[in-house]
Structure formats: C-alpha cells, structure tokens
C-alpha cells in the first residue's frame, strides 16, 4: 500500500479534532476560558487609580481652604467622603479602611496664603497598597502645586497690574506640558488585554497537549500507537497541530474582541503578531509535550500545567513589572517565552512597532521554542520507542 508521506499525520489530526470537539470539557476550555478571561480583564480588573475616598479636617474654614479642597474634588480622581472635626477621627477612618486619604488643613491656612507666608497641609495616606498610594501621592502633589502655582500667578498679575505697567513681561516659569504616547488615557485595560492573548493561547496549548497525550496513555490507546509503525514525529505532529490551529484561532478571536469589544487600539502589524505567535505556540506545545512525559494521569497533567504556568505569568511582566524585580529574577525572565510574546503584543497593539524594533524578541522566541521542542522531543522519544 502506497500512501503519501503526511497521511498518517493527517489522520492523527482528524482523530484529534473529532475527540476534542466531542469532549464538553475541552469545548469549555477552548471557548469558555478565553471569553471569561477577556471579560475579567476587560471589565473587572482595573488598576487605574480613581475614586479615591478622601476625608477632610478643615480647621480653617476660610474661602482659601474651601477652594483648595474643591480643587481635589473637581479633579475627578477624588470622592469627598466625609468632613471630620479632628485628626483622630480622620486616622480612625483610615484604620477602618473607609477612606484612602485624610487631609488636614490647619488654622490660618487662608490668612497665611493671602499674606504670602508659607503654610502646610497634612496628608495622611493608606499605604497598604503601595502602588495605589504612590499614585495618590502623585495626584496630591500635582493638585497642590497647581494650586500654589495658579495662586502665585494671579498674585504676580495683580502686582503687575497695580503698578500700571501692563506691558511689563513676567519672569519666566517652567510649566510642564505632559503628553502621554501610546496609551494616552492610561487605561489599564489597553495594557492588559493584549497580554491576555499570550495567557490564553499559552494555557490552552499547554494544557490541551499535555492532557490529550496523557489521556492516550491512561486509556491504553498509547500502547496500540507504539506497536504500530507510526513514527514519533508523526504522532507528535498529528497530536499538536490541531491545538496549534486552535491557538491561532484564539489569537484572532481575542484580538478581534479586544479591538471591537473593548476599543483597545491596534496600531501594528497583525502578521507580525501571528509570526511571533507561531513560535510562542511552538514553545508552549513543547512544554505540553514535556509535561505529558512526566504525568501519568490527566489530573497530574493539569496540575503540572499550573505549576508551569503560575511562575511563567509572574515572570512575564504581565502584572508585576520586570524592572522592579531583583536582578536574579530579571535574568530568569529571559528564559520565559511568555515575557517576549507579551512584550510583542503590547508593543504591536499600542505602539505599532514591528520587526525592526522587536526583532530581538522574535529571535528569543525562536531560540527558546527550538530548545524546548528539542528537549521535549528527546524525552518523548525515549518513552515512545
């Protein structure tokens, strides 16, 4: 019987597709997981610091103190929670977690400001969530300096006008004009959704591959395959290609949902995402294959998948910035394919950069996935032959 070279791979693939789409759990994983993750990170997870609850102890009750406080409320970031009548009361509210910031405006604030003397305002912050606290601190600084700057400006103008020399030029001051590129509104969703792509595709390909190989071993069908003349590469190709295809479909689906459903900007080349995705998927399939050689049951495969996945998310820069990690952990991240694919996705989506800027990431993905493929094939062959 003469058959073409790929017929065994093809029939493996057909079988794999049939089995996958007949298994309800698999369907749930394939379609449920991406949708749920998109919803969670699109709607629920929001690291934008807004709705800061503030309580104020206004000892001064002057026009100046009121206008100072109102600057906070009108900024849009703060919510005026309560007016308190002592510092202790404010601290207690902080302790209870009812407010994020407590502001104490001292007596004579207004008169000191008017008379041009220096005055102080006390801000007490809840530092439990350090990153949120530092953002709040920055807001407070910004608003306070804006206030004193505009106050100063008015004052100088008044002096100038009162001297009757309207043509006199004021001394120059430096004013910061901020312009934020790539994610101008600084929406955290724009930052997370492109990274979700890597998470979903990675999870699905690793888990599906490892579980479906282990399933064959568990049910005894693996022995039948081993005694047949099918070669190990044919088996692996037939086994993993369907999941690679599913991974590609997931990339497309997630990208479309991110752009259309959540308005995430997409400025770069989709082809480049797919090319990087190809090598990322190759690496993840290899990891799945490797896991299948160390697991005896599907539960073990599932657990091993998570054992691999949690550190690879933590070391990817998905949530915790890599630059903030100690040097040794930063080095570890270089061996994490997820790191590169997430970086590529963020850059392509938001910055619109391509191969010229990101070629090192593509190269790293290629090297890592080749090494992973080599390692897992070697281990798999030892168990297959």
């Amino acid at each position: 019987m003469k058959t073409d070279k790929f017929s065994k791979i093809k029939s493996m693939m057909i079988k794999e597709f049939k089995q996958t789409f007949r298994d309800r759990r698999m369907i749930g994983m394939l379609f449920g997981a991406p949708v749920i993750m998109m919803l969670i990170f699109g709607f629920a997870v929001n690291t934008d610091v807004t709705r800061i609850k503030i309580a104020v102890f206004d000892e001064d009750m002057s026009q100046q103190s009121r206008s100072f406080i109102s600057k906070f409320i009108s900024s849009g970031y703060f919510i005026y929670e309560k007016s308190v009548s002592s510092s202790d009361e404010g601290t207690e509210l902080l302790d209870l977690g009812e407010i994020d910031v407590f502001m104490h405006v001292q007596k004579n604030f207004g008169s000191k400001v008017k008379s041009g003397k220096q005055t102080q305002v006390q801000i007490v912050l809840d530092g439990t969530d350090s990153s949120r606290a530092s953002v709040i601190q920055a807001y407070v600084n910004q608003i306070a300096s804006d206030y004193s700057f505009s106050f100063l400006n008015d004052k100088i103008k008044m002096i100038v006008l009162s001297r009757g020399s309207g043509t006199m030029r004021m001394k120059g001051t430096i004013q910061l004009k901020e312009r934020i590129l790539f994610n101008p509104e600084m929406i955290s969703r724009n930052f997370y959704l492109p990274s979700i792509l890597a998470l979903i595709v990675g999870l699905i390909t690793v888990m599906l591959t490892s579980m479906s190989v282990v399933k064959e071993r568990e049910s005894g069908t693996m022995e039948q395959i081993i005694v047949s003349p099918i070669k190990s590469y044919e088996f692996v190709a037939g086994k993993t290609l369907p999941f690679a295809l599913i991974g590609f479909v997931d990339i497309i689906v997630v990208t479309v949902i991110a752009i259309i459903g959540f308005g995430v900007p997409f400025n770069g080349s989709f082809t480049f995402v797919m090319i990087c995705g190809f090598f990322f998927i190759l690496g993840m399939l290899s990891v799945g294959l490797y896991i299948s050689t160390v697991s005896h049951t599907q539960q073990q495969a599932m657990l091993s998948t998570f054992l691999f996945f949690i550190p690879s998310i933590l070391f990817s820069g998905f949530v915790f910035p890599i630059y903030a990690m100690p040097k040794i952990f930063q080095i570890i991240t270089y061996f994490n394919p997820m790191r590169y694919f997430i970086y590529v996705n963020r850059s392509v989506f938001l910055k619109g950069t391509g191969i010229i800027e990101l070629w090192t990431n593509l190269a790293a993905l290629m090297i890592l996935s080749s090494v992973l493929l080599f390692m897992s094939m070697r281990r798999f062959n030892r168990r297959f032959e």
């Binding site: 019987m1 058959t3 017929s7 065994k8 029939s11 493996m12 057909i14 079988k15 049939k18 089995q19 007949r22 298994d23 049910s219 005894g220 069908t221 022995e223 039948q224 395959i225 081993i226 005694v227 047949s228 003349p229 099918i230 032959e385």
Partner: protein, 307 residues
C-alpha cells in the same frame, strides 16, 4: 526461518524486581502458543517486550527473524497486538476507530475499506458502525479490539489476556475466531490465566514468578504427570482435606470446587489405602474415583510443589 518467535534468556527487571527471569522458548509458524500463569507472573511483560513496548534488560528475542531491540520497525508492520486494557477510542465511532487504526498502518482507499468491512463482519457490528465505541456491549468491544489488531493483516498476533472480563459464551466465540486465524496460517501468541483456555493452545508454557516451569502441548503436560489423580467427593471436604493432606502416601492434595483432587504415585493402590485411612477418621460417606489429570492439576503441582 522456522520459528515465528524465538526467545533466548529474555529478562526484564524493574528495579530490584525481576518480572521476567531469563525465559527461553520458540513459537512455530502457525502455532497457537499459550502463556499460562497467574497475574503478575510476567506474561504481559514478555508480550510487551516482544511487541517493542518495553526494552529487555537482558537476553534476546526475534520475531519473524527480526531482532526485538534493533529491528522494531520491521516487526511493527507484521504483528498485531491486543493489549489487556481495552485500547480503542471510546469517544470515536466503530468506523472512525478502524479508519484511524488502518491509516496508521499505512492502509488507505479501497483496500482499507475492504479490511474494515471484513473486521466489522467478524466483530458482528451489524449496523452499529456509526455508534460510539463506549456504547457497545462488552463482547462486541472485545471482538472489535481483536479486529483492530488484525486490520492490517499481520502474520503474528499477540493477544494479552484477550478474554479477561468476558462471559464464557463470548469466550468460546472468541476462541473460534482465534482458531480461524490459526487455520489461515497466522501465528498466535496468547496469554491467559484461564486453565480451560490454555487447553485450546497447540503448545503452552506455564509461567510462575517470571520463570517458565513447564512447556509442552496440553496433552503431553497432563500425561507427563508422574502421578495418578483421584477425585474424592465428601460432604465435609474442608476437614477431610486436612486429614488427607497429612497422609504419607498422598503426594499432593488440592481442593477443586467441592471435591478434593489427590495425587499419588502411579500404580499405588490408593483407593484401598484411603478407605482404611478414612475409616480411622470416622469418615464413611464419600465417593472416590480415578480421573484424568487436568491442566489445573499440572499447574497446582508445579505452582505449589509437593506438600
């Protein structure tokens, strides 16, 4: 090449445990060769080494003249293997399973369809070819698994406990299939722990704890027993068994169902001696007769040794 399977000092160790302990045997072409032994005797391990699933720790083996370590590729095309575990895909239909099995052996087109048709007739699938395998009754599943193993028309069949968990009628049916393969010139290597099944074999090996302790045709094995076998039927057989077992002229005694099989030297006047001995023990209500040795007697003798 005279033999379909030749094995020399084949050994398999798992750590400190020796599962197969330097066994030697040959299987002639077209023969039905049985491997009889209790669970854990090393039957499956032997078959798995011959099929290339396990690598031997020592010794050598040849299947159809090919070395089981170095020439696995050649072996794979000419053998069929049915494992102890049911090995079809439960979530695929009968036809899908067979199409897949066939295609990984390189079958395709009309040849594959012809073979599938043959296997489905053999397994008596009827009109259930598009049903998921998990919904089929046990007996049909078993036949289908056998069908999967012969789909590519192998010349040597390795069947690892093919009838475990199948009812007696199904087992008989199954053996008729095996006979038909044998008539068609195929060599069959089958493991079992059913004594009655072993009787179906042309030749068989008794395996205990990784060693072959006897090997011949079932008839010869029974005839070679240097003892006469008697069956003693008695109401209180447990108590009687203990008494009989203590008698010096009884070489071995074993309980078979509700009767006792007694082995004694050939030509020993057992009936007379036993009558006297039982009388001393006040056992009067019994029946004793000389019977033909069964494989079970052979097995029990070899397995337990003399008392």
């Amino acid at each position: 090449m005279k033999y379909a399977v030749e094995v020399e000092n084949l050994t398999k160790k798992f750590g400190n445990f020796t599962a197969v302990d330097s066994v030697n045997f040959n299987v002639a072409k077209g023969e039905i060769f049985g491997f009889l032994g209790p669970n854990g005797a090393g039957k499956s391990t032997t078959i798995r080494m011959l099929c290339g699933i396990l690598t031997p720790s020592g010794g050598s083996g040849h299947v159809s003249g090919f070395d089981i370590v170095k020439e696995q590729k050649e072996i794979k095309n000419i053998i069929g293997y049915m494992s102890q575990k049911f090995s079809l895909y439960q979530d695929l239909t009968v036809r899908e399973n067979l199409e897949f099995s066939g295609s990984i052996y390189g079958l395709s087109g009309s040849h594959l369809q012809k073979r599938i048709k043959y296997v489905m007739e053999m397994a008596e699938i009827g009109n259930r070819e598009n049903e998921l395998v998990k919904n089929l009754p046990g007996g049909i599943k078993q036949r289908l698994a056998l069908g999967g193993a012969i789909l590519h028309d192998p010349s040597i069949l390795f069947l690892d406990e093919p009838t475990s968990g199948v009812d007696p009628i199904m087992r008989r049916n199954f053996w008729e299939l095996i006979y038909s393969f044998s008539r068609a010139g195929k060599t069959i290597f089958v493991t079992t722990h059913y004594m009655d099944e072993a009787e179906h074999c042309n030749r068989m090996a008794l395996v205990i704890a990784g060693k072959i302790i006897a090997m011949d045709s079932p008839e010869n094995l029974k005839n070679s027993l240097p003892y006469s076998v008697y069956s003693l039927t008695v109401p209180d057989f447990i108590k009687t068994f203990e008494i009989v077992n203590r008698m010096t002229f009884v070489f071995d005694a074993a309980i078979f169902g509700s009767s006792i099989h007694i082995l004694c030297k050939k030509n020993f006047p057992l009936v007379k001696e036993l009558k006297a001995a039982l009388k001393c023990n006040n056992i009067l209500n019994y029946k004793i007769e000389k019977i033909h040795a069964t494989l079970e007697d052979v097995f029990v003798l070899h397995a337990g040794g003399a008392k």
